[in-house]
Amino acid sequence: MKLLNEKSKTGSSSFNVRLLDIQTNIPEELQRVDLDLPELSEVEVVRHYTNLSKSNFGVDNGPYPLGSCTMKYNPKINEVAAKIPEFNIHPLSQHNKGALEIIYQLQQYLCEITGIHAFSTQPAAGAHGELTGIMIMKAWFEKRGEKRTKVIVPDSSHGTNPASVSLCGFEPVHVITSQSGGIDLGDLRQKMSKDVVGIMITNPNTLGIFDDNILEITKTVHDYGGLCYLDGANMNAMLGVVKPGDFGIDIIHLNLHKTFSTPHGGGGPGSGPLGVTKELEPFLPNPRIIKENEELKFEQSNESIGKVHSFYGNFGILLRAYSYIRAIGTSGLRNVAENAVLNANYMKEKLKGHYHLPYDRICQHEFVIDDSLMPNGITTNDIAKRLMDFGFHPPTIYFPLIVKGAMLIEPTETESKENLDAFIEAMKVIKEEAEHNPEKLTKAPLNAPIGRIDIVHAARKPKLRWHSK
């Protein structure tokens, strides 16, 4: 596919820009005369971008089982709500009451769903929520005059967890995963001390396993005065079934762009609301939107860690999540979790025998296979590339890091049984090809607009911009 610059033909532009005589103090030697902009007719530009958009793949094109990302279908009713003109207002407008009411109600829903006391909708993504959460943990211990330095992070965690910990000046300490796929309790007990700020847990974790010992884990951390943070990336498996507040969680972020079906990828924008217990509420970002005597108002807390986003977060996204929750209702939320878990287990059982399951047990919304049974040196990367030829977005690969050659598959609740079967069938065909026709896999994708990319060359000798010859 050619770049606009490569398609450029002198004189083919369809518009004439009037040159302006601008008075300027900028010295002549610093002024650019030739901008080297491509020259194309309008129709060429339109075709260029339309063809680019057709080469893209999103959940509106086909199944997208990208583990830990919950690429579920985003119902179009969300977009209808987001386009209501009355919501297209400035946050400080005197007509903002409706917008504030939406945010307030969404906060209430999130509290109810998680069993957590209070939410802020400011954080713009999951990692932003994490950072805000760790800052609150820091503020909590500073207020108590306690100097703690370490945060416990399981070795299966999302990479953003230890990154958020480091960014706040704490030391991330890894706990290992037990053979059954949960946190190793013995290792956790050994690493706990009065020096530990808390733990960052993902539950269900990135192996798709709900930790059997979650109550014991949170109790162990609380016994030392530590706080328990839940990375809510995998909340999809628990909607209407389990409340994190009931298993000892003090702080949680949710990814509205995962669990609550708002646009995901391509810049989003995302939204990672942060929830905390009553004790931690005063530290939430300012301003908070609260209701007193049926009147919505802003609350400023002196102990707040401060603002983390302009105004109240990505409002258009909050509106979409609100509309999703209202559209499917409480029973719908529970259906989401049940079907997400059912779909993942169905797929896992059907792939068993064809692919190796490093943790062969009932999973939640996602599960891990690896490439250890693949013949002829076929790797997880080859399987992922070949899946594209069958019309699927590849699952997450080489994550979690604790499984060699991992492929993390999350079908989500919005795929039909026909689509699940088609994916399973494609995976079986790929296994056959690995046996009898391995070059089909090592050369894949064969039907994509661009074939196998030399990622090593691209990383070693990157071309970061276009240069004229």
């Binding site: 080489y398 890091l401 990622i455 090593v456 990383a459 070693r460």
Partner: protein, 128 residues
């Protein structure tokens, strides 16, 4: 796998070679094999003092980003600038052209804590 006898090794798969009062540090053949294709090595500043087990440099492969730890403490006297344009040297010649850092002011006692070739080979057998 080739592990020369005149080197010492860490559990993190770094090697160290002593030539007079200079120590050269790199990663082992096993380490480069596990990392797969190395695409970038972030080298430290020359003249910097480094602690034993301190972060010496960062190696980025197509698979992961890994910290390289200093087997001993010392002062960084030279870094392998060839890696800036040819990070693949770490894969092709991990024990020669793929070296990363040279240290001086070596503490002999720290060297005793490292593994000999025989011990490292045994350690590798345990991993596989």
């Amino acid at each position: 796998m080739k592990n020369p006898v005149n080197l010492k090794y860490t559990k993190e798969h770094e090697w160290i070679r002593i030539d007079g009062d200079i120590a050269t540090v790199g990663i082992t053949d096993y380490a480069q094999d596990q990392l797969t294709d190395v695409v970038f090595v972030e080298l430290p500043e020359e003249g910097k003092q480094i602690e034993q087990n301190g972060n010496l440099c960062v190696v980025e492969s197509v698979k992961s980003v890994s910290d390289i730890f200093s087997p001993i403490s010392g002062e960084i006297v030279e870094v392998n600038k060839a890696l800036e344009n040819s990070p693949e040297l770490v894969n092709h010649e991990p024990l020669e052209g793929g070296w990363m850092v040279k240290l001086k002011a070596i503490n002999e006692a720290e060297l005793d804590q490292l593994m000999t070739t025989e011990e490292y080979n045994k350690f590798l057998t345990g991993i596989e």
